[in-house]
Symmetry: C2
Subunit: 421 residues, 2 copies
C-alpha cells in the first residue's frame, strides 16, 4: 500500500517547519522536500554575511542534514518549472512528480519596481550568492580607495547608498557604519574609513514604518550616531554604475545596495490562478488554494489577510503557516475538519548596530542595549542547528570584544565551471 | 628624507614573513605588500574547504588585518604585470611602483603537463575559488546521484578520481573516503554514499614519494581502510567531462580532482632572466637574482638547490626564505655583508583522515593516531591568527564527535557582477 505523498517546495522557514511537523507525526505520509539549493538559509542574519561578520556556513545548513533523523523525508535538489494543478503533478528539472498534497513555500525575490536594469548596480539581499557579492563590493570599495589618488574617485568609493528603510536596509546601513568606524579604521594607511559616507534612503515619511513612530525616531538617531545619514520621503529615480539619482539630486556612489521591494516567486504566474496585486497567491482560511484543497501556499509566496491587513513577509509568519498546514494535512488523514490559520504576532525587532536595536512586542517597547540583547537571544535561539548557534555566538563574542569582523574575504568568481554549466 | 622602499609581491607564507620581520625592525624602511587577493590563505588546510570541513573564512585572513599593527606597512590589492629590473620599477593594474628592494613571492599555479584543456574537468586546488568549486562539484555529485534513476549515471556520479599521490592528493582522497563513509551516510535515502568509489592515481611507483617507503605503504593501507583505491605507476592520458583515461583503461567519473603538477607564476617568463627547466627562477645563495642584488625571489617561485637537491614547494621553505631575505635587507641597511640561506628541514607530515596521518622528522617516524594528533597540533599552531585557530579547533572538535562536516553548502556563482567586471 502506498502512502499519500506530500511534496513541499522550498526549504525556507515555511517549508522546513511543514516537513518537520509532518515527519514527526510518523510514517503515514511520504514526504518529499524540493529546493533549488541544498541548504536552509537563516535569512534574518544574511546581512551579517554581506557585512563580513559571519561566514555563509554559519547561517546555512544542508536541509538534508537538518532532516536526516526523519527517515520518511526525502530531500532533493530541484528547480520546479510548472505545476499542473488539475493533474496533481509537477514538472521539475529532475523529472515529474505526482503528489497527494502540495505545499508551495518558494519565498520571494527582489523587486525593482519595473527598473530591473538597476539590479546589476544595486544588488539585493535574498541569497548567499548575493550576500557574498555585496561583501565583495563593499570590501573592494575600501581596497580601491586605499590605492586611489584622485580625490573625487575616493569620495565615490567611500560613498555607500542603501535603498529601503525597512529592517534589512537599517541593518545594512548600521553595519556599514560599524565596519567603517570600528572594524576597518586601523587597517588602512591612506584613507580614513571613518570618513565613509553612508546614506539610507526611504521613500516613505519614516524608516521602519511597521514599528511605532517613537521607535523609528530612536532608530534614526542611533543610525546617525554610527555615521549614517537618513533621507526619508526620498525616491530613487535612476541608478547606474556611477551612482544614484535621488529625486533630482545626483549622488556619486560606487556601492549601492537594494533593500526596497520584494516580488513573489515567478512560479506564481504559472499556476493559472488569479494573483493579488503584488503578485502573491491569495489563499483560503486554511492556506489552501481556492478550488484546490490539496494545494497550500505559505510564507512570502502567499497573500493572507488577517484583521483586514495582509500578513508581512516575516519568518514567524512562514513558520506558523507551515505548522498550520502540517496540522491540517494530519487532521485530513484522520478525517477531521481543517482549522483556519491564525497568526499570533509575538512582536518584531530590528537591530541597528553594536548594542543598538529596537523591540516592539505587545505593549513592550525596548531600545538600545537591552533591545540588542533581546535581539541577540532570539536570533541565536532560532538559528537552526546546535553547531551554527555555537559558531555564531563565538564569532559575535569575538567581534564584540575586538571590534573586528571574521569574514573579510573578497572571494572572486573567477574560477570557471564546466564549459556548459 | 625618504626611506628605502621594499616592495613585496604576494601575501603567502613567504611574503607575509618577509613583511613581518622587516616591519618589526622599526621605521627605517617603507614596506609595501601587494597581493591580487585581500587575504593570506593558509594553504595546508585548503583541502578542508574543498571537502566541506571548513569555511573559507576559517583558513584565510585579510593581509591588512594581519599586519595592521605595523604602521610602516602598506597593503594594496594589485596585480603585477611586469617588472623592469633595470629601472627598479614595476607596472601593476593600479599604477607604477619604484622600489629599492623587491621581494617576489608569487607562488605557483597548477600544471597540466601541456594539457591545459583538462583543467575545466579536473580543477586543481590552489585558491579559495577553486576550493569552493571543488566542494560544489563533490556535493552536487551526491545530490544528483540521489535523484537519478539510471544506474550507470549513478555509478559515474559516485566515482571520484584524484590525480596525484602527493600530500594534497592523499588528503583529498582520504577526506572523500571520510565524507562518504561517515558525514553523508545518514543523509541520503536512495543512494548509499558508502558505496562511493574513490581512485587515487599516481604516476610514480608509490604515493607520498618524499616520505620513507614504509610510511607511504602505511598511508596506502590507511587510505584503503577509508575506501580509497590506490593505483600507482598509472598515467593519465585523457580527461573530459565523462571521465578519465588511465593508460588504456577508461573510467567514467563525474568528478575528477587534480593534485599533480605545479608550474610557477607567469610573471617569471616576463622577468627576462634565464629560468630553470620547471619554469622557476634560479636564485643566488642569498636568494637574490643574479646581477640584481636588490631583487629577491622566494617560495614556490624560486629554484634553490641545497645539497644538490632543489628545495620543495612547502610552507616552511617559503617562511624561512622570507625571514632570510628580511634579515639580509636589514643587514644591508647597516652595511653588513649578506648571509647565505640555509633551509632547516624540521620534517614533513601528511594527514590521511580521521586519526590517520604520517610524520617523518629527523629519525622520528609516526603513524596512525599519534601522527594525527601531531599533525593537528602543528597545523593549529601555525594557523594564522588567534581567531581562526579557535574556530578551526571547534569546527574540528564538532566534526570529530559528530562525524559531520560544517560547511556542506553548494554555493553557486549565479549572481551577476557589474556588466564589465
Amino acid at each position: 500500500m502506498s502512502r499519500p505523498r506530500v511534496i513541499i517546495v522550498g526549504g525556507g522557514f515555511g517549508g522546513l517547519n511543514t516537513a518537520k511537523k509532518l515527519a514527526a507525526a510518523g510514517d503515514a505520509l511520504e514526504i518529499v522536500l524540493l529546493d533549488r539549493h541544498n541548504y536552509h538559509l537563516f535569512q534574518p542574519l544574511l546581512y551579517q554575511v554581506a557585512m563580513a561578520g559571519l561566514s555563509p556556513g554559519e547561517i546555512a545548513s544542508p536541509v538534508r542534514s537538518l532532516l536526516s533523523s526523519y527517515k520518511n523525508v526525502q530531500c532533493l535538489m530541484a528547480d520546479v518549472q510548472t505545476v499542473q494543478l488539475n493533474e496533481n503533478k509537477m514538472i521539475t528539472d529532475i523529472g515529474e512528480f505526482s503528489y497527494n498534497y502540495l505545499v508551495l513555500a518558494c519565498g520571494a525575490h527582489h523587486s525593482y519596481f519595473g527598473h530591473e536594469e538597476w539590479e546589476p548596480f544595486a544588488p539585493g539581499l535574498k541569497t548567499l550568492e548575493q550576500a557574498t557579492e555585496v561583501r565583495r563590493r563593499v570590501l573592494l570599495a575600501f581596497e580601491r580607495a586605499e590605492s586611489e589618488r584622485d580625490s573625487a574617485v575616493i569620495k565615490s568609493l567611500l560613498t555607500f547608498v542603501v535603498v529601503g528603510g525597512g529592517p534589512t536596509g537599517v541593518e545594512l546601513a548600521g553595519a556599514l557604519g560599524e565596519i567603517s568606524r570600528y572594524a576597518l579604521s586601523r587597517d588602512f594607511r591612506h584613507i580614513d574609513p571613518r570618513r565613509t559616507r553612508i546614506l539610507l534612503i526611504e521613500a516613505g515619511p519614516r524608516i521602519l514604518p511597521s514599528f511605532d513612530e517613537r521607535l523609528s525616531q530612536r532608530a534614526t538617531r542611533d543610525l546617525e550616531k554610527l555615521g549614517v545619514t537618513v533621507w526619508t520621503s526620498t525616491s530613487v529615480t535612476h541608478i547606474d554604475r556611477k551612482g544614484v539619482k535621488l529625486g533630482n539630486e545626483w549622488v556619486e556612489a560606487a556601492t549601492i545596495l537594494w533593500a526596497a521591494g520584494v516580488k513573489p516567486s515567478p512560479l506564481n504566474a504559472k499556476l493559472g490562478v488569479p494573483l493579488e496585486r503584488s503578485g502573491r497567491v491569495p489563499v483560503q482560511q486554511d492556506l489552501s488554494l481556492k478550488g484546490h484543497p490539496q494545494v497550500f501556499v505559505i510564507g512570502d509566496q502567499a497573500y493572507f489577510e488577517q484583521n483586514g491587513k495582509s500578513l508581512p513577509g516575516l519568518a514567524p509568519v512562514a513558520m506558523q503557516q507551515g505548522q498550520s498546514v502540517a496540522n491540517n494535512i494530519l487532521r485530513g488523514l484522520k478525517s477531521k475538519p481543517r482549522e483556519a490559520f491564525k497568526y499570533i504576532d509575538k512582536g518584531q525587532m530590528a537591530t541597528i548596530g553594536r548594542r543598538l536595536a529596537i523591540v516592539q512586542a505587545g505593549k513592550l517597547r525596548l531600545t538600545g542595549r537591552l533591545a540588542w540583547y533581546a535581539w541577540l537571544l532570539v536570533h541565536i535561539y532560532y538559528l537552526v542547528g546546535f553547531h551554527n548557534r555555537i559558531f555564531v555566538l563565538i564569532q559575535w563574542a569575538w567581534s564584540y570584544f575586538t571590534f573586528r569582523r571574521g569574514a573579510q574575504l573578497i572571494v572572486n568568481k573567477e574560477w570557471r565551471s564546466f564549459p556548459d554549466s
